[in-house]
Subunit: 337 residues, 2 copies
DNA sequence: ATATATTTCCGAAACGTTTCGGATAAAGGT
DNA sequence: ACCTTTATCCGAAACGTTTCGGAAATATAT
């Protein structure tokens, strides 16, 4: 493995000069610079980022803390799509990604700060953790630059990127109301998720705006899981036959709701309209195709990386960013007279 | 940031002793060891892996070269599932993952060896590259330990994990033949993929075994894309009306084939049976649900990580591993009399 | 000619570890 | 009493960079 010293020896200069030449400083003569570059190429030199990181105290590396990488989360590719977005932005900006795992017990032995400091990452992007995750407190307490995904909390060193979930939910409900629905139930995720909190808020505000009935028993949690959603929906509709539309906080749960409707002999959308959230791939393939709120998930990822890197490089930037949502109308909703 | 020196000072010993205590050597007295551990904890010490990597010439890091992380590949979660498997195995074995990107032009400026050497990764796992990718040659030429996914090539320093694609294809064709199909066409992927080569081989061998017609014009490439598959299938079936079953080298392409059949007014499975490959999530949701060949994708990933780490730690292991496939019968295939 | 500025280079320290080779002291053997 | 082993510790070098402060050589101004 050739080093900067080898180059210095061959080129007949000092390591200082080699370093400065390679890094484009201007206090090295053009001719010697060319010579050094040539030698470096000839010796097939690659810089050692470990050594560099050691002295510069920067690693040009971003730590990724993702909790949705277990077998269970494979159905929706939200996690993956965010990852792709991060990856794309980070790599264009010259940063590498290092993947921390948060679900195996093995890794949980280490604290967030340990994870980051051991690898000397410059900053971190955190996705998929719940409100009560101990990591979250640590993130907010530490001064490691960090971007949260879908958790709208901000400190001096942590920002976030998310969508306007209140607005997204409102779009869904507005759509249902325009179709003439009046008795709208909601299948929410779980208490640990900020997005659940906000989508519920949008749901409530929009109903109130139109002075439609708001009933506590029409709102149930489906844990963001298809099976759970199916069973709670079954119970919900059995006990509240007057419900004519359902707003689900995720498409995966909407799929469960769909199954429940089938079992109950309720036709979607003729007997009951359903709108989901996320616009997962499945949404356009299931039967009927789901009306849903789409998010630019890839962009969430790339914005997160961009935001973090701006923070790292002290470029002025707002510490929070929002990406758009849009209503996608398919066949699971229809007019109700 | 507290270092080993700080600990040494506070504990009143040398850095050598601290290092050896922290790493569990036996030439340090139990009492001083406890003391050092206590001080380390109190000072909230985290080891600097950069420094360690520099002197040990090992980073406990695995490089990940993945090509399926662009916007286009989101439909099938094969890539992601492999990633999850790798992540799980690697993290239990104490390795971190660093993500290299191979599709942005930015990263393509660097060669495979540069990528690996700069970050001083101990080894690499490579996924989704084509037979003619220049990286592949480099991987085989270099002596960096590497595991290829779905590319059955082996050298002193590179192994692979894959499924028996010949066998998988045979299972599919056997199923169709047992159902009474005789005129079986194939929608393959593209020439750049080993899996295509092998699935074709399985298809041909099985047909030959039963002395069924093998026609070159019944075999077309769908580029592993839904749209391409739809158009080639359309053309194929229009020109060869006698075809009564289709073997698709991926579920995504099977979905395309499904659409083509719809447009042609051919009912699946009554007019024509279709079997896919991969068992993607969509396969069980589309209409009709797809009969397909399932792979334990998660396991492909975890085996890859396990294999690589065995190689890195000089544990004896076969350089190639196979994971199982199984036929999953759903509603896109039926008897043909 | 001298004084000053500019260009081009370099020595050495620093980053935080690990590890080789040996030192010291205590324990054991004869 | 002396020699040998064992347990415990440490100094210093090494890993491959970057960078501070300054030196030498050359150009420019007076």
């Amino acid at each position: 493995m050739t080093t900067i010293k080898d180059i210095a020896k061959v080129a007949g200069v000092s390591v200082t000069t080699v370093s400065r030449a390679l890094n484009g400083y201007f206090d090295v003569n053009e001719k010697t610079k060319q010579k050094i570059l040539a030698v470096a190429k000839e010796l097939n030199y690659s810089p050692n980022t470990l050594a560099r990181g050691l002295v510069m105290k920067k690693s040009k590396t971003i730590g990724l803390l993702v909790s949705g990488m277990s077998k269970e989360n494979l159905k929706d590719n939200f996690t993956f799509e965010v990852l792709c977005g991060i990856n794309e932005a980070a790599s264009t900006l010259g940063y590498d990604l290092i993947l921390f795992n948060t679900n195996t017990t093995k890794q949980r032995e280490k604290t967030y700060t340990q994870l980051c400091r051991e690898r000397r990452v410059d900053g971190a992007i955190v996705q998929g953790i719940k409100k009560d995750d101990p990591y979250l407190k640590e993130i907010l307490d530490s001064d490691i630059p960090c971007v949260l995904i879908d958790i709208p909390i901000q400190t001096d060193s942590v920002g976030y990127v998310t969508t306007d979930n209140v607005l997204g939910a409102k779009k869904a409900i507005e759509h249902l109301i325009q179709l003439g629905h009046k008795n709208i139930g909601m299948i929410n995720g779980h208490e640990g998720a900020y997005v659940s909190e906000e989508r519920l808020k949008g749901y409530l505000e929009k109903l109130t705006e139109y002075q439609l009935p708001v009933k506590k028993e029409w709102i149930v949690d489906g844990a963001f899981e298809e099976e759970t959603s199916e069973s709670v929906t079954y119970k919900l509709l059995e006990e509240n036959n007057e419900i004519d539309a359902l707003f689900c906080a995720s498409d995966v749960m909407a799929l469960g709701a769909l199954k429940a409707c089938n079992k109950l002999g309720k036709a979607v959308p003729d007997d009951i309209s359903i709108v989901g959230y996320d616009n997962i791939t499945l949404a356009s393939y299931c039967l009927p195709p789901l009306t849903t709120i789409g998010q630019e998930v890839y962009k969430i990822g790339s914005e997160a990386a961009d935001l973090l890197i701006n923070m790292l490089e002290d470029k002025p930037t707002d510490l929070c960013r929002y990406v758009d949502t849009n209503l996608i109308i398919r066949d699971s909703t229809t007019k109700n007279y």
